[in-house]
């Protein structure tokens, strides 16, 4: 194939968080991306969430920077209101038919002022608010939407359906409405396809047992999420939907639409509901500590990083009640109130606001208690294990923790283009290629591949981007656009010449603020050389005009008083740049969002405020300096630390794209933990997969493997690391040590004695990025008389027996597994995530060897999340018996008369049970290496359990806060092989974002040290999470001390420009360019002086 035979573009179907991450990874590594999204804007379900577990971060806060980045990306083309209809061709040369619905709003003209929606007479259920509120027929789905352009809902628009109205067209100040817009059929040529359509929440409607149709007080978790949200229909006030009264008791019902083959067909676990229920209960309780929150569950599945401690906190700190019982059903009980009793209704104001936002009557045909003297309760019957009785409890609100399903559209498309699905209806992938569908060239990420949470979706997005890009590597950078290089004028030494442009924004600003007066006032300010107004400053012609004026009037500072810099600053910076002026000489004044829109009844004051803000901006702008964005070369070599499955996958991913990769492995051979493992949950043979991968690694021309290697020293930072290792040998093709395939341990050159000598065999590798994949190990149990009887083994030891086909396995008549050995204990509070599925799988293997074997699994909560639940079901169906124990009554293991006895109390019968076992497997915890030295070397943090801490739990699970260092595999958290592989690919994808650029630009607005003032106290070093500041150290080899030794310096590559160091510096030695003390104090001073 020649380079041109593949298309350097990728189609990403779905604009949720998975699609967004995949698109950004690809677009940032040299591919053109078409993002096809069904709705008018991207964001997906994550945009609907109030907070995200387990940290309860504000969902919108962490997501919106990504939305904006996609929206502005030069190499991402957003195709909204569109769906894939068909796919033709094959990997590398797909043709995709896309159907795009008409928007009826010209995106190039719409300024998102919202005037149209205000005048639109048609109210429609607002799906963003789960139908709990109303929006108009012309709308943006949510205020932070990207693209922030209105769209007409053709099904509901009066003009489009009946030919009457036309209000929006009359109102639109920008002339953006186009009723004649037509649906379009597009054909896109792409090399790879990533499917990320997300999931549908299970709809409990029509199931009488949930009482969902009959009562407004039974809500789905998505609806409750909107109730909790400050931007939701209730502005975050939780009230009983039936009467807006103050709730006292809320219940969550888990597994609604999951783990149920009877009332719905979803046998799988939806994986996220336990955590989101805990999150919602905590948030609800934070809103109102007197609330009683109860979660009814079957097994608490808090198997992710930080989840178990969140669960423990929910119980202990927040007092949330957990009841292990599936509630039979919900029904309404009405209670008549005495005359004296009044409904505890939230204040009248609140109610009116609620009605204003159209909350009323949104849910169709729901029973409302019209009579204010009747109060509805939801009755839950549950079985109390303690008393053995049925308890009847009344709740104000019941939240149904609904599961995930794949839409029929997605299934149809998959069928049409020949992609296989799993039995649960998700897209099928394999353990060793977890993001590849059964159709070559089509990849997948997010919940469509199986129920999962945000971090796992983001991981898969990275993996999918990696895989999609690899196939197209020859066509990298062939279809991408480049930002034009521009020359900037040197304005150093020039007197400030400020231009002030004030925007009318149609009537958005002008209807309240006297724009001309603001302009005229600006003209009186010192250094202001030019003032003007614009009808729409953001319009193309206005920007051309501004650029011309800047040139003509030789302006060297520019101020635009209009809307928010968060959305428009980059646009005007671009305008300034096009006039040859450094973009940091721009300052924006927000007189719309912070002015006319919020002070509409105070035009005089709003005008005065606008003048003040302009004066402040001028005061700052005269002190602005042109800032440079320096180029930093990225060394094109890679170091991967750890040669297990994760490390090898990451290495292979990058090597396949042409980068030289060095694997540093401490052991004498590659393979890591996988060497001891038998099968994946997807029933792939691990030894085969491992062998296959290892041989690809050892024969790869771009990969050098160092086994028996120790890292001695690390210097440098992103783009330019120097890692010194001591190693016995390397196994690359050019290796001279003569050992084969990295198995140095077997070679005479690397006997233990010779290994010592490797200290002299040290080598320094220069590399641009580092991937940490150091793995974890299995805990050696200290309980259950482990080590005292050879019939007692750990999970991995059992796998070894399977690998070796140990005859003891078939011979056993009775086998027992004990779960949570060393996990979820006070001294090791996290859940090891993999052991439940692993034991269930091993039990099935035993059954396959000997169908008559009696097998018992003693567990605390079975955590076979996602479609692994089907293994659990299979195990039960095959007669494997599961017995639950709790921490206070752990099983007792004893040996007497040569018999191995396990005693446990049955959780149902509450009676002691004794099992005589021929084989006892302890599902032992996954323990991290807690490699503090490595953490120090790369300046990356470890958590209290000893796992590495990623940059962001949700959105950057494979990155570190430290640039240029990435993370995957067990070193991050326990996870099965498929997840490790996906994360390794994601880490490689993140690394690729850097490598493919060859150089990175430093940010302009970064901190800088004036060393003559610096006291060298190091406070800046301690406050910075990015390791940007450091104290200068002399290099001893250089002979004489560096100037300013011991004083702070900032690495401009690492600095993110937050300014925490600057404000922490007592001696004022630090400045933050663009937000310096002088500039900010000038604003403060001028705010008051007029």
């Amino acid at each position: 194939m020649s380079n041109n035979s593949v298309t350097g573009a990728v189609l990403v179907a779905g604009g949720g968080i998975g699609g967004i991450q995949a698109a950004l990874d690809l677009a940032n590594s040299g591919y053109y991306v078409y993002m096809v999204e069904k709705s008018p804007s991207i964001g997906g379900v994550m945009a609907q969430l109030d907070k995200t577990f387990p940290t309860n971060d504000c969902s919108m806060c962490i997501m919106s920077p990504k939305l904006v980045e996609v929206g502005r990306h030069i190499n991402i083309e957003l195709i909204t209101l569109a769906e894939i209809k068909d796919v033709r061709g094959e990997q590398g040369i797909f043709e995709v038919d896309v159907f795009q619905k008409a928007r009826y709003v010209d995106m190039t003209k719409c300024i998102a002022c919202g005037a149209c929606a205000e005048k639109c007479p048609k109210k429609v259920d607002d799906l963003y608010n789960a139908g709990l509120a109303k929006r108009k027929a012309i709308y943006v789905p949510y205020p932070q939407a990207v693209p922030l352009k209105y769209a007409i809902d053709a099904d509901n628009c009066i003009m489009l359906t009946k030919g009457k109205c036309g209000n929006c067209e009359k109102t639109c100040p920008a002339g953006a409405i186009n009723y004649n817009d037509k649906d379009k059929n597009l054909t896109l040529k792409v090399g790879s396809i990533i499917l990320a359509p997300g999931f549908n929440a299970y709809n409990p409607s029509g199931k009488a047992i949930y009482n969902y149709d009959a009562s407004k007080d039974v809500v789905t978790s998505i609806e409750f999420e909107r109730y909790l949200s400050a931007s939701g229909p209730n502005q975050g006030h939780v009230t009983r939907p039936s009467d807006n009264s103050h709730p006292h008791k809320i219940a969550w019902l888990q597994c609604v639409g999951s783990r149920d083959i009877n009332t719905c067909g979803n046998g799988y676990c939806s994986s996220v509901c336990c955590m989101y229920a805990i999150k919602q209960a905590i948030i609800a309780k934070e809103h109102d500590p007197s609330l009683e929150c109860t979660i009814f569950y079957m097994d608490m599945r808090t198997h992710g990083k930080g989840f178990e401690s969140c669960y423990n906190e929910a119980k202990e700190k927040h007092g949330i009640k957990f009841v292990k019982c599936k509630v039979h059903s919900i029904f309404t009980q009405e209670e008549k109130l005495n005359n004296e009793e009044k409904l505890d209704i939230e204040s009248v104001e609140d109610k009116e606001t609620v009605e204003d936002s159209g909350e009323k009557s949104a849910k169709k045909s729901k029973k409302e208690s019209k009579n204010k003297n009747i109060k509805q309760y939801q009755v839950l019957n549950y079985f109390d294990e303690e008393s053995g009785k049925v308890v009847n409890e009344l709740y104000d609100i019941v939240v149904l923790s609904v599961g995930m399903e794949i839409s029929s559209d997605t299934r149809e498309l998959a069928h049409k283009i020949g992609i296989e699905l799993t039995s649960g209806g998700f897209i099928k992938t394999s353990s060793f290629d977890p993001v590849a569908t059964t159709k070559q060239g089509v990849y997948v990420c997010g919940a469509v591949q199986g129920p999962k949470d945000i971090p796992q979706s983001v991981v898969e997005a990275g993996g999918a981007a990696m895989r999609a890009g690899t196939a197209l590597a020859p066509a990298r950078n062939t279809l991408t656009k480049k930002t034009p290089e521009r020359t900037e004028m040197d304005i150093k030494g020039e007197r400030p010449r400020v231009g002030v442009f004030v925007c009318y924004c149609g009537s958005n600003i002008a209807s309240v603020i006297d724009v001309a007066a603001v302009r005229d006032y600006a003209a009186t300010l010192p250094y202001v050389e030019y003032v003007a107004t614009n009808m729409y400053s953001c319009s193309q012609d206005a920007q051309d005009g501004i650029a011309n004026i800047v040139k003509e009037k030789q302006l060297n500072r520019m101020i635009v008083a209009a809307c928010s810099p968060r959305t428009h600053e980059p646009l005007f910076q671009e305008t300034l740049l096009s006039a040859g002026i450094n973009k940091y000489l721009f300052e924006m004044v927000n007189i719309r969002n912070h002015g006319s829109w919020v002070h509409k009844d105070y035009p005089l004051e709003a005008t005065q405020k606008a003048k003040d803000l302009v004066r402040m901006a001028v005061a700052k702008s005269v002190q602005l300096e042109p800032l440079a964005e320096a180029d930093l070369n990225i060394d094109q070599n890679v170091v991967v630390i750890g040669g297990g499955i994760s490390g090898m996958t990451a290495a292979k991913s990058l090597a396949d794209q042409g980068y030289k990769v060095n694997i540093i492995e401490q052991n004498t051979s590659l393979g890591g933990q996988a060497k001891n493992l038998y099968q994946t949950a997807g029933r792939a043979m691990i030894q085969e997969g491992l062998e296959n991968l290892t041989s690809q690694i050892t024969s790869h021309e771009n990969i050098t493997v160092f086994t028996g290697a120790e890292i001695e020293d690390v210097e440098g930072f992103v783009g330019n690391f120097k890692t010194t290792i001591s190693s016995c040998c390397d196994s690359s093709a050019t290796s001279k040590c003569g050992c084969s395939s990295g198995n140095c341990g077997d070679s005479s050159l690397n006997s233990d004695k010779d290994g010592v000598a490797s200290g002299t065999n040290s080598k320094t590798i220069e590399h641009g990025v580092t991937i940490i994949a150091t793995g974890a190990s299995e805990l050696k149990p200290t309980e259950y008389i482990y080590g005292q009887d050879k019939r007692i083994v750990t999970g991995i030891e059992l796998d070894k027996m399977f690998i070796n086909n140990d005859p003891a396995l078939s011979a056993a008549k009775s086998a027992v597994f004990i779960q949570c050995v060393g996990s979820r204990e006070p001294q090791r509070p996290y859940c090891s995530r993999i052991c439940c599925s692993h034991s269930v799988l091993s039990a099935l293997h035993l059954k396959e060897k000997n169908p008559d074997m009696n097998i018992f699994i003693l567990y605390r909560d079975i955590r076979t999340y996602g479609e692994k639940e089907l293994l659990y079901k299979e195990a039960r169906d095959k007669g494997i018996i599961f017995i639950r124990y709790d921490l206070a009554n752990k099983p007792e293991v004893s040996v007497g008369d040569g018999k191995l006895n396990i005693k446990v109390i049955d959780h149902v019968l509450k009676m002691p049970i004794v099992i005589e076992a021929d084989l006892l497997t302890l599902a032992s915890a996954v323990v991290p290496y807690k490699d503090e030295k490595l953490a120090q070397f790369f300046k990356v943090p470890l958590n209290e359990d000893g796992f590495f801490v990623e940059a962001h739990v949700k959105l950057a699970p494979s990155d570190f806060a430290t640039d240029g260092v990435f993370l995957c595999g067990l070193a991050h958290y326990p996870k099965p092989i498929d997840e490790s592989i996906a994360q390794a690919q994601a880490a490689a994808s993140s690394a690729l974002r850097l490598l493919s650029k060859k150089t990175i630009k430093t940010q302009g607005t970064i901190a800088e040290v004036n060393q003559t003032i610096c006291s060298g106290c190091g406070v800046c070093v301690s406050v910075c999470p990015y390791n940007a500041p450091s104290l200068r150290v002399s290099n001893q080899n250089e002979g004489r001390p560096k100037p300013h030794e011991g004083k702070a310096e900032i690495n401009p590559v690492l600095c993110k420009g937050c300014g925490a160091c600057v404000s922490s510096c007592r001696s004022g030695a630090l400045k933050l360019k663009g937000f310096d003390d002088g500039q900010l104090l000038a604003m403060i001073e001028s705010a008051m002086n007029f």
């Binding site: 109030d50 928010s564 003040d612 403060i1084 002086n1089």
Partner: protein
């Protein structure tokens, strides 16, 4: 005489509270026009000198707002800010600055309503206290913008110095 209208220096972090203020705008939540917003990357950027300087210049109140603990775009910036502000506020009040002149809050970019509410509360609480009394430098109050030309901030002067050098 008309009611006293305080002027309040408001410093907002770019990622959360500034976003909340934008959202309040988009949602047309009304609040009094007494605040003057200064945008900074992170609440961790705000240093005590900005607060003291605002008082020097006659600000009647100061309001600083950032991301909720845990939400910081820069991972930990708001934790430092919180620690610093609590101490500074206590210390200023210990020195005689009235309670209610200095406000700190944490508002996420989804909390437009909260932004408007807090803005109203801040303005009201400062309005009740009346004009600022302490820490004001007389010369600033009496001066007008032209005075700034005489300070070291004067870029003209800087340029002259540079040229002379």
């Amino acid at each position: 005489m008309s009611e006293f209208e305080p002027k309040i220096i408001t410093i907002l972090c770019n990622w959360c509270t500034y976003g909340a203020a934008d959202l309040a705008g988009v949602s047309r939540f009304q609040y009094p026009p007494n605040i003057r917003v200064i945008r900074v990357p992170c609440s961790g950027r705000v240093s005590p000198k900005m607060i003291l300087s605002a008082f020097h210049n006659g600000a009647d109140g100061i309001w600083i707002s950032g991301c909720h603990p845990g939400d910081c775009h820069y991972i930990t910036g708001n934790y430092y800010a919180r620690r610093k502000f609590m101490l500074l506020k206590n210390f200023l009040e210990y020195n005689g600055i009235e309670q209610g002149r200095i406000h700190f809050s944490w508002i996420s970019s989804a909390e437009g309503v909260k932004f408007a509410e807090v803005a109203r509360d801040v303005v009201e609480s400062v309005r009740k206290l009346g004009p600022a009394k302490y820490f004001i430098k007389k010369e600033f109050i009496d001066s007008n913008l032209c005075n700034c030309l005489n300070t070291d901030n004067n870029p003209d002067k800087n340029i002259l110095e540079e040229q002379a050098a």
